[in-house]
């Protein structure tokens, strides 16, 4: 996902929030990962918004995408200029209404935003894990999130919602913990990466690993593989937009010049944009985390993991109600992939709604202001909340 971080146009915000941490699996304990490797201790960064109601029936779990974090909405301090990444959707009276719901947003493991990942200290060596960090899967991320919810005393989740890699976690939650998840909203996502999606991730990873500074993942005491990571981000950004989005946003317009420079400076606006996005990313993201998280996304395959090769069988494990949403111009996770998962849900008699929202901004559309998206999510949540209250 791109970094948009838009301020709410009406200035409505949940206000001040605080990043919290939960650590578990401390020695001698550890958890066994899907790869059979062991990991511990594990810290997970998370933020909560709103108030948990008495019967704990108003929990919304929001799961972030590749480069996101636990900071879903609000501000860390009064001087803080930047709200959370889904400020436009989450807050008082918004699509996900924090006056009504208790929102939990955990940071995924393998990330570099406060949870245990390759840049964390390996207790065995006293140095950052680097490439000694075990490869984790979407299933591992979700298992760790479950530990956090157990710690918070949450037994039922009204809705799990997330886009892109966050959407994969949504699907994993619904299938892995069917008794906990009342309803789920997978946004702009897929049950498994296409060869195209894996290909782009591989190009991005190779960009990092080809940077001499990467040094087999061992760079925390020296110069970082900034060039590689910036290039990886540039590749990513191309896949998050669309032909139409780029035509509208940049066209063939030149950057601060009236003619070609006849050298290899950034002549076109699109070149300048990608270079800027790449540069900006290296300041806040760890190259190894990028490798691990994209690998987890590539490995994700709901039918392989939960259905013996059958997607319908995988979804037979869940009882959740679903709202599946795709976007017309998303070519990273095109609508046909969402339709395929809807088909498997229908075969299992699951209560599912589906909408392909018309949006020109490509895969990133789920992060941008969209009244239709907000209305859909709000209607779905409110209806499910009313149903749960009745029981």
């Amino acid at each position: 996902m791109s970094e948009y971080i838009e301020h709410d146009e009406n200035g409505v915000s949940v206000g001040l929030v605080e990043k919290k941490h939960f650590t578990f699996a401390e020695p001698p304990d550890s958890i066994v990962l899907e790869s059979n490797a062991r990991l511990g201790p594990i810290t997970i960064a998370y933020e909560t918004l709103g108030t948990l109601n008495e019967d704990k029936s108003n929990v919304i779990l929001i799961l972030h995408a590749l480069s996101g974090d636990s900071h879903v909405a609000g501000y860390y301090s009064r001087e803080d200029q930047k709200p959370g990444w889904w400020e436009i959707m989450v807050g008082p009276g918004k699509g996900i209404d924090t006056d009504k719901y208790f929102v939990i947003c955990p940071n995924i493991i393998a990330s570099c935003m406060g949870s245990t990942g390759p840049s964390s200290i390996n207790p065995d060596t006293g140095k950052p894990y680097g490439f000694d960090f075990p490869v984790v899967t979407i299933g591992d991320m979700v298992k760790v999130q479950k530990a956090l919810l157990d710690h918070l005393g949450i037994e039922k989740i009204l809705t799990v919602v997330g886009g892109s890699i966050g959407g994969m976690q949504v699907l994993e939650w619904a299938v892995r913990y069917p008794d906990m998840v009342v309803s789920a909203i997978p946004l702009a996502t897929t049950t498994r990466h296409s060869a195209l999606a894996i290909a782009f991730n591989e190009v991005a990873r190779q960009a990092i690993m080809a940077d001499p500074n990467w040094n087999m993942g061992n760079y925390y005491d020296s110069a970082k593989p900034d060039l590689g990571l910036a290039l990886a981000r540039m590749v990513g950004h191309v896949t998050y937009l669309s032909d139409e989005a780029m035509r509208r946003k940049f066209g063939r317009r030149l950057q601060n010049k009236s003619d070609f420079s006849f050298n290899f400076d950034a002549d076109f606006q699109v070149e300048s944009y990608l270079r800027y996005q790449g540069q900006k990313f290296v300041d806040r993201f760890d190259a190894n985390s990028f490798l691990y998280i994209t690998k987890a996304a590539d490995y994700f395959d709901l039918r392989r993991q939960h259905g013996d090769g059958s997607e319908a069988e995988a979804f037979s494990r869940t009882k959740s109600k679903f709202l599946v949403i795709s976007f017309t111009s998303d070519w990273l996770y095109p609508t046909y992939q969402s339709r395929a998962m809807v088909k498997s849900m229908k075969k299992n008699n699951l209560d599912v709604s589906f909408c392909e929202i018309e949006a020109e901004w490509g895969h990133d559309a789920f992060l941008l202001p969209n009244e239709r998206l907000a209305a859909l999510i709000k209607g779905f949540l409110d209806h499910n909340f009313t149903e749960v209250q009745k029981k």
């Binding site: 109600k321 008699n349 709604s353 909408c355 929202i357 209305a375």
Partner: protein
Amino acid sequence: MTQLADTTSLELKRFDLQIIASWIKPGSKVLDLGCGEGDLLLYLKQNKRVNGTGIENRESKAALCIAKGLSVLQGDINEEVLDYQEDTFDYIILSQTLQQVYYPEKLLKSLLAIGKKVIVSFPNFSHWSIRMQVLMTGLAPKNEQLPYEWYNTPNIRVITLKDFRKFTRGQGCTVLKEVAINTHHHDTKGHIINFLPDWRATYGIFLIGKGDKK
């Protein structure tokens, strides 16, 4: 003589939908094909505790339904009906859509597979005014129910009540109920026609079952 369907809090505007709603047993599982903005589904949910799903091709309308808390799939009805298991639904509703379906035979077969009963309503092309228009003007008919020109009408199937009865016999299914209605005031009001329905009805509504063949 005006016969009203259930009198309840939320009212259905269209007269044919009022009749259809009166046929649905409370608590049943319903699939509404071409559900539009979900008026019928919402009515059935609130008044008959129906477990309903809608299919609607237009993004804006499907989104409106979901925002109302209805379970609706955006998609083409011919495609979407293929994924369900046998007898998933107690009723499948195809209201004022049949005349726009490219392969009605195939669709009806699919519907009778996934549903126990199918309710079909369609505009009656053998209404006297339509017959007169063709006869007197020699032009393809146009009226309130069928307001299009021949070249831009979505109503590609010209069906009469008689045609449909014949069609169901050919398909080996049973007509369990049949009502012919005459509507006025933008289809919001109407009455049931018992005398010369083939001539006088603007719409036909049929409840169809699977037939004797098991």
